[in-house]
Symmetry: C2
Subunit: 221 residues, 2 copies
């Protein structure tokens, strides 16, 4: 309960810290200061120390942080220590297959235990070691095998109903690649990945750059 007051934005930075600590560990670095870690991540040292302070004391004055220890502790805080995260995936089109094939998920302990689709062509097949079932069987599956995490890779038109089914089935964290706004009840976490929106917002700055450049070249404009 007390930890539920940690700002969401802090929680979202913890994996960033943990990831960098993993790299540092691989580099053979035993200790690191908030200053150096912040430099590597383009984050202020004060922010790192403040973020960590929500969870306890992890460093040594004059020395910094034990790289391996802090990484372990962050992973424990995130609930990633020594456990496999089971996920279902809905939507086995091109994108869904790329997700199933992506090695980064299992490498970090996230395993797709079952996939679902509505296309008879793929139902019944096994793709990247994952069995594909009829999406109509999704509610039944979730009842028999509760899962907390889901990845949604269906077309936008299908996403809302899929998310509803997942939520009804007890899934409380969903990563959606569908480019459509989707409401979820309190207590359910939905993250959306939309590369097109990222590009569109960057386009603004590209255009600004062009305008400035034009202004320099043609001061009268």
């Amino acid at each position: 309960m007390s930890e539920s007051t940690v700002p969401n934005i802090v929680i979202r930075r913890l994996p960033l810290y943990a990831r960098e600590l993993g790299l540092l560990e691989a580099e053979g670095c035993a200790y690191i200061s908030s200053k150096e870690l912040g430099h590597r991540l383009d984050v202020t040292p004060a922010q790192i120390r403040k973020d960590l302070s929500y969870f306890g004391r992890f460093g040594r004055q004059g020395r910094g942080y034990d790289v391996g220890d802090l990484r372990q502790r962050l992973r424990r805080i995130l609930g990633l220590d020594g456990r496999v995260q089971r996920m279902v995936l809905v939507g086995v089109g091109q994108l869904g297959r790329a997700v199933l094939d992506y090695a980064g998920f299992p490498m970090q302990g996230f395993h797709v235990v079952r996939a679902f689709d509505s296309d008879p062509e793929v139902i019944g097949r096994v793709i990247a070691d994952v069995q594909v079932d009829d999406v109509a069987d999704l509610p039944g599956y979730l009842e028999r095998q509760p899962v907390a995490l889901a990845i949604v890779t269906v077309p936008a038109a299908a996403a809302r109903s899929v998310v509803e089914t997942l939520v009804a089935g007890g899934v409380n964290a969903i990563l959606s690649y569908a480019p459509i706004a989707t409401a979820v009840p309190d207590g359910v976490h939905l993250r959306q990945i939309d590369p097109v929106m990222e590009l569109q917002s960057m386009a603004y700055y590209i255009r600004q750059g062009e305008l400035n450049h034009t202004a320099e070249v043609e001061p009268g404009g």
Copy 2:
């Protein structure tokens, strides 16, 4: 210059508004209020009006916003009106291919004009209508054909050097799928997509949910 003072977080919401307005247009909706739009996007009406106010006045009191008009104006602000955004893609592995095949990019006007890789197996091939060149030729290509946007889908170990090359070649907006911190100079925009980090931060809340549940079931814990 004056517009460069618009907060980045506002710029990042504009594509969200534009996207929803596109859906509303498709639904045949002619006018919408900030209240209704906010409801659909889970954003407060005040925030929408405030965001828009950075760019001018777009609505009518008592009526709301003309859906098509506002969408057009937002697209113009973002620099998306009637122009194709040319991009290069670096890294034609599984993920790179999925990006090349993804219809959402061209549908929104973002076209990969050339891809690059270091693997002799793919260099010279044409994938999804895009020619794949040797990444060693990337600097030369950018010199001949300046491009503002790039997508990076190489392994983490290669990402830093690729980003450096892109920046040196004049690219000022990069969308990277590589899970590694990468510094870029001022004026260059780098966005990273890391689904694993999203899952990791959601894992925190899954665990919190479990802890709460345990606490309810076993009040003594």
